[in-house]
């Protein structure tokens, strides 16, 4: 059913701390390990040991550089479904296989009714949905719906696999609709933010920004860029007459 619920009782989601994520990809592999035999099973891989491996993964970790010089940062950036409050991936679905749960706000795909038209993945700005070429249906993060309510596993495991696996506690799970929850307090304290808020899909998952650099860090030994020095050496080599001639010939011939 692709009509969105007017409101959900809870807004279950993740809070991801970009300040302490070390980019180890433990959440990625743990997600894959759990979900390839869970609700979304299987998460098919193609040519996994070959030259062009690809497959369905529900969580990806990018690494970016932001800023320059002293203020520049390397930021590891986990990316998965944000379980939006107004997800376009659900409303575009022609079959009702994509839906948002009224009780907890989790966005799911019913693998038994999905026709694999891929339109939902086109509608998602966050690249959260990955098509399974072998199964012919769309796969996405389930927020480990088969763990968080699972009474057959120990209580401490009833959180998403990615959160359980994170060695630095950069991932937090909870009800972001409840202002008194730990995750909501964390978001308020650290000024957690939405990705691409201008799209208007109201993501539930929040990201905590990297903390500003501590005073005095790296002011005394700002490293010089290695390629700035390397760049000089070959250019000094090209000043010989022969090299100038070849450079000229190259320019003329490639006109």
């Amino acid at each position: 059913m692709t009509m969105l619920p007017e409101k959900t009782d809870k807004k279950l989601g993740l809070v991801i701390d970009l300040d302490i994520c070390v980019g180890c990809h433990a959440c990625v592999t743990s997600c894959k390990e759990w979900n390839t035999s869970g609700y979304s099973a299987p998460l098919t891989d193609f040519n996994p040991y070959g030259a062009d491996p690809h497959g369905t993964w529900l969580n990806r970790v990018h690494t970016y550089e932001a800023g320059e010089g002293h203020d520049g940062r390397t930021v590891h950036f986990p990316r998965s479904c944000l379980h939006c409050e107004e997800p376009a991936c659900v409303t575009v679905c022609p079959t009702g296989a994509s839906y948002k749960r009224e009780e907890d706000g989790i966005v799911l795909v019913n693998p038994d009714t999905c026709i694999g038209c891929k339109l939902c993945s086109w509608a998602c700005p966050y690249g959260a949905r990955e098509y399974d070429y072998a199964e012919g249906v769309m796969k996405k993060c389930t927020l480990c719906v088969d763990r968080i309510y699972n009474e057959t596993i120990p209580k401490e495991d009833r959180i998403p696999a990615c959160v359980r696996a994170c060695p630095t506690s950069a991932r937090h799970f909870g009800d972001l609709g409840d202002p008194k929850s730990d995750v909501s307090k964390l978001v308020a304290k650290r000024e957690g933010y939405d990705l691409m808020p201008e799209m208007g899909y109201k993501p539930v998952n929040k990201y905590l920004p990297p903390r500003p650099a501590r005073d005095g860090r790296a002011t005394t030994d700002t490293p010089t860029r290695p390629n700035a020095q390397q760049g000089k050496e070959p250019s000094s080599g090209t000043t010989s007459t022969a090299d100038k001639f070849f450079a000229w010939a190259d320019t003329v011939l490639s006109r």
């Binding site: 690809h54 369905t56 970016y64 891929k118 993945s121 086109w122 509608a123 700005p125």
Partner: protein, 317 residues
């Protein structure tokens, strides 16, 4: 966006089919063309063949074609579902109208009612096809006010060129069909050029800084990708066509899709040529237009950039 051949074939073939269905029915209802049996047989045969080919092709695009019937259920929110429903429904009035025309040679009341419904359904179907793309905020090139009108205009243009050819082949040339072809092709060409101008001039409003929220630190650039080889998201949404190729393909699309068909249709209309030459001219117009439409549709997908590419190195979309 990845230009999937199944979707290119679907949108071009069904567009021409619905255009032919709408215009053929309309001109017959207005008494411009006579409900002659074999003409009707050819007209509806070609229209149904193109529409069915397009719809079948679109189901080949599905991962689970056997479940395609489920797409009729979510008309309240999904343009794809709406399109599927109207497309399937159109067969009913169109079938009835064709039955009256071909079997009884009769398109007067009550058969004409089916004709009018056919016209409306064909137009609404094409509009829904356009809205599937126009409703996607994630692809700024498509989330554009000219997309749905363009789909409709190009369907009418290709339908009218096709109708003109069929009428010539059946020795029932109607000048008005030629005029409709010339006017709709010209309008389609102008709107397409306007659209290209608009998307070329539009600055990307979404940035890598917004996508990651790291703009407060400074300029954002990728350092390590999350996977060694392209994943589904990159294969489907990360397709990019080289700028110089796009320019050449746009020229070819205008040449084959609009300029040549307009020129040949004008020649056929004005030269008072023999039957053979007129047929040759109208067939040439249609063949050229078909090639042009496929190029135009390929570009429609290939040139569309998705905001998700911001996570994979695009600076603005």
């Amino acid at each position: 966006m990845h230009p999937a051949y199944s979707v290119i074939l679907f949108t071009t073939a069904s567009g021409a089919g619905y255009g032919l269905l709408a215009l053929g029915s309309l001109l017959a209802l207005l008494g411009v063309i006579q409900p002659e049996r074999w003409l009707g047989f050819a007209l509806f045969g070609i229209a149904f063949a193109l529409i069915t080919l397009g719809l079948l092709s679109s189901t080949f695009h599905l991962g689970r074609p056997e479940r395609a019937w489920r797409a009729f259920s979510q008309w309240r929110t999904s343009w794809l579902s709406r399109e599927g429903i109207i497309a399937a429904f159109t067969y009913a009035p169109a079938g009835l109208f064709a039955f009256g025309w071909v079997i009884f040679g009769n398109i007067s009341p009550p058969w004409n009612l089916a004709g009018w419904i056919t016209c409306i359904c064909a137009i609404v179907t094409v509009w829904c096809t356009g809205m599937i793309y126009a409703s996607l905020k994630t692809i700024p090139n498509w989330h554009h006010p000219l997309i749905a009108p363009l789909y409709l205009l190009l369907a009418i243009a290709s339908g009218s060129v096709l109708l003109n050819m069929v009428l010539h082949l059946f020795r029932q040339p109607a000048e008005i069909a030629g005029y409709i072809a010339i006017v709709s092709l010209t309008a389609g060409c102008l709107v397409k050029l306007l659209y290209w101008r608009s998307i070329d001039g539009a600055p990307g409003t979404h940035t890598a800084e917004q996508a990651t929220g790291l703009g407060t630190i400074g300029k954002v650039r990728p350092l390590e990708p999350p996977h060694a080889q392209p994943n589904y998201v990159m294969r489907e949404m990360g397709f990019a066509v080289a700028r110089k190729h796009a320019v050449r393909l746009r020229l070819l699309a205008v040449l084959f899709g609009f300029t040549l068909p307009i020129a040949t249709t004008v020649l056929v209309l004005t030269l008072n040529a023999s039957v053979g030459l007129s047929i040759l001219g109208s067939v040439t117009a249609f063949t050229s237009m078909a090639i042009g439409m496929v190029i135009e549709r390929w570009l429609f997908f290939a040139e569309a950039r998705h905001v998700v590419t911001l996570y994979y190195g695009a600076q603005t979309v």
